[in-house]
């Protein structure tokens, strides 16, 4: 049996292996796959689906190819800093501001074209003009009404560090999204209060991998409340409400850190191999067509440029009563440091 089986298995496997070896050598000889040197390289920390839509529409309009390198805000931001002038990146897109500020402070960004800046209202971009806002997202508390009544919800995000919230909330501290919220806590409450709050969080909260998993856990009744960004909930409601059907949203308002509106950034690298195309791409995103792709498409994030309105289901951006924070003052590295000290990372 075994000798038959062995022969039966071995021969095709060996043939396949040698054929693959040959193919590999041939491929190795003809150079590396995929990388088109003329393509615009976008380091993308925004949602891949959205940026891909932008890229496809941009390519269709201009004939310029775009390739994405996908990752997280902090990961790609720190990577750009590490790469410095050796970077192959043309454009950097983030979900939040701190990673963009990090790259800006390292002196790696080129000024954004004035015409592009003019498309975006001042409160959604840094005064420096080194990058611009391209979208916005609001912090929300997602809760499960079967487990907690509306009256028992916390008045402030800061309350979640109190002992009575032990084991009763979830978030995704490893993700840049949540780290941006912490940066808002830091900007509005100061270092000491932030430190205390993070220690309370380490004590109280359940770690989830990302916003979707957090929302799903609240939906499944694992924890009564979770801190996420608004659009995950609206997207899921718009689909089959499979992961949010048992949940509602609570907006903190009141200029609470929990009402923080996070600005997604777009910037052009100082050493971009394709600087003109990079500026063109950013102008496209902030322009009417790009903002409509964002506002009318699958995203459910808030457009910030060219006067394009958000989806009708969303509460208007200016009704959220968010704390007023200059996006370029949000500090990523200090937040990471504080979160590491608190044992969250």
């Amino acid at each position: 049996m075994s000798s038959r089986l062995r022969r039966a298995l071995f021969l095709p496997a060996a043939v396949a292996a040698s054929a693959l070896l040959l193919a590999g050598c041939a491929a190795g000889g003809s150079g590396e796959p995929a990388a088109d040197p003329d393509a615009l390289v976008v380091y993308n920390a925004q949602h891949e689906e959205l940026t891909q839509e932008w890229a496809d529409a941009f390519t269709e309009e201009t004939g310029i190819d775009v390739v994405l390198r996908n990752g997280d805000d902090s990961e790609l931001g720190n990577q750009l800093v590490q790469e410095g002038a050796a970077s192959k990146a043309d454009v950097f897109l983030t979900e939040n501001s701190p990673a963009m500020s990090l790259v800006e402070q390292a002196g790696l960004l080129a000024p954004v074209d004035e015409t592009t800046l003019a498309l975006v209202p001042e409160q959604y971009r840094p005064a420096s003009g080194e990058w611009t806002g391209i979208a916005a997202r609001s912090t929300v508390l997602v809760y499960n009404p079967d487990l907690i009544s509306e009256d028992d919800l916390p008045a402030s995000l800061m309350d979640l560090a109190k002992p009575e919230w032990k084991g009763r909330w979830g978030a995704a501290p490893a993700k840049a999204d949540f780290q941006a919220i912490v940066s808002a806590v830091l900007a509005t409450q100061g270092e000491e209060a932030t430190r205390d709050w993070l220690e309370g969080m380490a004590e109280n909260a359940t770690d989830y991998r990302n916003n979707i998993v957090t929302m799903k856990a609240v939906n499944a009744g694992e924890v009564p409340v979770g801190v996420i960004y608004h659009y995950y909930w609206y997207r899921d409601q718009d689909a089959a409400a499979e992961d949010s059907g048992n949940t509602k949203l609570h907006y903190f308002g009141n200029q609470d850190p929990g009402a923080f509106v996070s600005v997604s950034g777009g910037g052009v690298l100082e050493n971009a191999p394709h600087p003109d195309e990079a500026q063109q791409f950013l102008a496209f995103i902030a322009g009417e067509q790009g903002q409509k792709i964002l506002g009318e498409g699958y995203s459910f994030e808030y457009p910030v440029g060219s006067g394009v309105p958000a989806k009708a289901e969303l509460p208007p951006l200016d009704s959220l009563d968010a704390p007023v924070i200059d996006p370029s003052t949000l500090n990523g590295p200090e937040v990471i440091q504080l979160m590491t000290e608190a044992g969250l990372l």
Partner: protein, 491 residues
């Protein structure tokens, strides 16, 4: 030179630690979070390794030496989970039982995914045993259990230790499966720290602790292996063993074997297939380019790993010395670190020394060679050891030049080992996640990274086609491994 390449990751971790200085390093290492990770990781290994050994050795024993019904089917089925990457298995389990998480979730999924790594060497070793020894023991009045414990197990010691070591190192290095199940180990925490800071001090400090854990595991194995040797003069002509009738245990063991196959193959595959039926046609567009890129990178990795492993194996077999042993040891040590550390080391190294190589297919392949070198080395070494040097000498005595003798006599005899080693490396490379994500040229999407992107955002239907593809791509290599394990006794 080769050994230097293999030691880049170790050098990176040590250098990062030295650069940090003791104060910062100790602040990062001696904190509650690291204690938590240490407890998690150690528990995982302490529970997971014995469990995989019991399942693997028990399974091999059942299919080889007992009258278990359907044993031929089970013999293949126990190896089959190797074709399902652990992170696909965890996706399958998590979508079947959404609440599965934490230590027990991690132990369950990883034991089910990795027990074949203990099963295959045990199977090969049991097939190689001469049943005459067991019969003598029986004739001297030992019962079945006593024969197993006192005659069979000691002869399997090396195979068991080897399997346990491989499983242990896999448990330390696994990222995807545990990230999915919300079970924090050093490796998942390193990836998290990396995402927060990209090669920051926190990632390096955690990497240092993990490197120490890997060393402890390697040391424990070599300690347990000891200097004891088993000697036999010639292999004789073993006759087929008498199969043990299971008697009252027959039903119980059959149910157990079915349960094991169900949990390790049926559950993950059923989830994958269930989601596959809900996949959009639009989800399928990326499959072809991802397959091409995966094949290109993994075959490139396999070819290069074989080329690098050949001189190592040659030295070890033909010129055994302290230096060749040291070289071989360095290859194992470097590859025992998780891929994320190897990748971080290569990012730092290429950026500092050869920016032109940064984010190229070349660097990805270098990473694959470092991570998977032992997979090529082990079969090559074994294959080379079986080619009698006298054949080459005979050719040379017929005035064939040495290089031609090697090419015409030794190389063809080595081909099966080359194929086996290459297939193993390609299998590992095709399933590799973290190093590929970090090092690949912008725009690269392998099957594994595409699967991971979709599965991470809980888009199960979009992930399913990639999961199926990963399994299909793995089948030939697993078949080869199985053929190798079951064929050895016949030589």
């Amino acid at each position: 030179m080769l050994a230097v390449g293999a030691l880049v990751p170790i050098g990176y971790v040590v250098q990062a630690a030295v650069a940090m200085g003791w104060a910062e390093l100790s602040a990062l290492v001696f904190r509650p979070k690291v204690g938590e990770l240490l407890v998690n990781t150690v528990l995982l290994v302490v529970i997971g390794v014995p469990a995989t050994v019991v399942l693997g050795v028990g399974g091999a024993w059942l299919v080889e030496r007992t009258a278990l019904p359907g044993r031929r089917t089970f013999a293949v089925a126990f190896a089959a989970p190797l074709a399902i990457p652990a992170f696909v298995a965890s996706y399958g389990w998590a979508s079947a039982i959404p609440s599965i998480s934490g230590l027990w979730g991690g132990v369950l999924v990883s034991v089910l995914a990795y027990f074949p790594l203990a099963y295959l060497p045990a199977l090969a070793a049991i097939r190689g045993l001469d049943p005459a020894l067991e019969e003598s023991a029986r004739a001297l009045g030992m019962g079945s259990w006593a024969v197993f414990a006192r005659v069979v197990l000691p002869q399997l010691r090396l195979a068991i230790l080897g399997g346990a070591l491989v499983v242990g190192l896999h448990l330390l290095a696994e990222y995807g499966a545990f990230a999915f199940l919300r079970f924090d180990t050093f490796t998942t925490a390193i990836v998290t720290a990396y995402q927060a800071t990209f090669a920051g001090p926190n990632a390096a400090a955690l990497g240092l602790v993990l490197a120490v854990l890997c060393l402890v595991l390697l040391g424990l194995e070599s300690l347990a292996r000891g200097r004891a040797r088993y000697a036999r003069i010639g292999s004789g002509t073993p006759h087929p063993p008498a199969r043990l009738e299971l008697g009252r245990l027959r039903v119980l063991t059959t149910v157990g074997a079915i349960a094991l196959v169900t949990a390790s193959i049926v559950v993950p595959l059923a989830s994958v297939v269930r989601w596959l039926f809900r996949a959009d046609a639009t989800d399928l567009g990326g499959l072809a380019p991802a397959t091409v890129q995966t094949l290109g990178l993994s075959i490139g990795g396999a070819v290069c790993a074989i080329l690098v492993a050949l001189p190592f194996a040659w030295l070890a077999v033909r010129y055994p010395s302290r230096i060749s042993r040291l070289l071989e040891g360095s290859a194992y040590l470097a590859s025992s670190l998780p891929a994320i550390i190897v990748a971080l080391a290569l990012v730092a190294t290429t950026l500092a020394l050869a920016p032109a190589l940064y984010q190229t297919a070349f660097t990805v392949i270098v990473a694959y060679v470092i991570i998977f070198l032992p997979r090529a080395l082990v079969p090559l070494r074994a294959g080379l050891a079986q080619v009698p040097e006298s054949l080459e000498e005979a050719a040379r005595s017929l005035s064939v030049p040495p290089w031609a003798a090697r090419l015409r006599v030794t190389a063809p005899l080595l081909m099966p080992s080359v194929a086996a080693g290459g297939a193993l490396v390609a299998l590992g490379a095709a399933n590799e996640l973290t190093a590929t994500l970090l090092l690949a040229p912008t725009g690269t999407r392998t099957v594994a990274t595409s699967f991971w992107t979709a599965a991470s955002s809980l888009d199960y239907p979009a992930a399913a086609p990639y999961a199926v593809l990963l399994v299909l791509l793995s089948v030939p290599a697993v078949a080869l491994m199985f053929a190798n394990a079951t064929g050895r006794s016949l030589r």
